[in-house]
């Protein structure tokens, strides 16, 4: 069966968003608040968006593609930083559909792109419940 491509989602990531995320995560790493800190560490000018926030954009792709579904697992490898302000694109495919008790498990491959390259390479499993009336 060919892989099913999910509709891509774009997110504008502002410096304010990155700051807000660092507050939610209570992450006081200066790269998430001080544009100069990223430069010192060779990460580029701007505020670095926290990794969990960026992973969240990929989870949102799944929530949008499969309303009512639940996330069973999520594995992300962070290969490049996302420096705000920028636009990130969340993309993915359903590689395999597996019947399980109570529904279907979807095995997805995902990637978050920023600054013209892949920032996160991820895999996720989503549980899609059977519709009412189905076994």
């Amino acid at each position: 069966m060919p892989a099913r491509v999910l509709p891509e989602l774009s997110f504008e990531v502002t410096e304010s968003d990155a700051l807000e995320w660092s507050g939610i995560l209570d992450d006081r790493n200066p790269i998430h608040s001080d544009p100069a800190a990223g430069l010192v560490h060779g990460l580029g000018p701007g505020i670095v968006s926290p990794g969990p926030a960026n992973a969240g954009y990929l989870m949102t792709l799944l929530l949008r593609a499969f309303p009512g579904a639940t996330l069973a697992s999520f594995e992300a490898r962070f290969v490049a930083v996302v420096v705000a302000p920028t636009t990130v694109v969340a993309a993915g495919v359903v590689e395999r559909e597996e019947p399980v008790p109570g529904g279907t498990r979807l095995h997805c491959a995902l990637e978050l792109r920023a600054h013209g390259r892949v920032a996160i390479d991820a895999r996720a499993c989503v549980h899609l419940p059977a519709s009412r009336g189905e076994a």
């Binding site: 209570d26 010192v40 969240g56 989870m59 949102t60 996330l71 999520f74 594995e75 992300a76 962070f78």
Partner: protein
């Protein structure tokens, strides 16, 4: 911001001391206001807390701050720890206003080299998030990268 080279301790004794080290853990409650903020940042009006709250809970309820976790590894927050990998297994839906309890253990610290960052330590730790009745809700695993910089030999 870091103004001097990162500290680069001898890895063997540090790794041995940290392996299996249990962090204090704590409790975390997803507040409705934070859930709404995360929804807005993701362009969602989602009645359920976003699954990214597994990451939020795991970091907010370690029982130590991120700076203190770095300090355990003899690493300064100002030297820029980076997230390398994040894995979450979800065993139940996250809900708002539930006092989740967490327990966390350092799995390992090892050292490798990076052309970009020089000496790079890799910290792995696991956080279990449980419901008030003790049933597991999520298991989160992290790999953090701690760049130690170039070391003179």
């Amino acid at each position: 911001m870091a103004s001097e080279s990162p500290h680069c301790p001898e890895i063997g004794a540090l790794a041995a001391r940290l392996r299996g080290h249990r962090l204090p853990g704590g409790t975390y409650r997803i507040r409705a206001v934070e859930s709404r903020v995360v929804g807005r940042l993701n362009g969602l009006e989602h009645p359920q807390p976003h699954p990214v709250f597994a990451a939020v809970a795991s970091l907010r309820a370690l029982g130590v701050t991120i700076e203190e976790l770095c300090a355990l590894c003899e690493f300064r927050l100002a030297d820029g720890p980076m997230l390398g990998e994040f894995t979450a297994s979800y065993l139940a839906r996250l809900a708002a206003d539930v006092p989740y309890s967490t327990s966390a253990t350092i799995d390992s610290l090892d050292r490798t080299g990076s052309r970009r960052f020089g000496v790079l330590d890799r910290l792995r730790f696991t956080v279990n998030i449980d419901a008030p009745d003790g049933s597991p809700v999520a298991v989160v695993r992290y790999l953090w990268l701690l760049p130690r910089g170039r070391v003179e030999r």
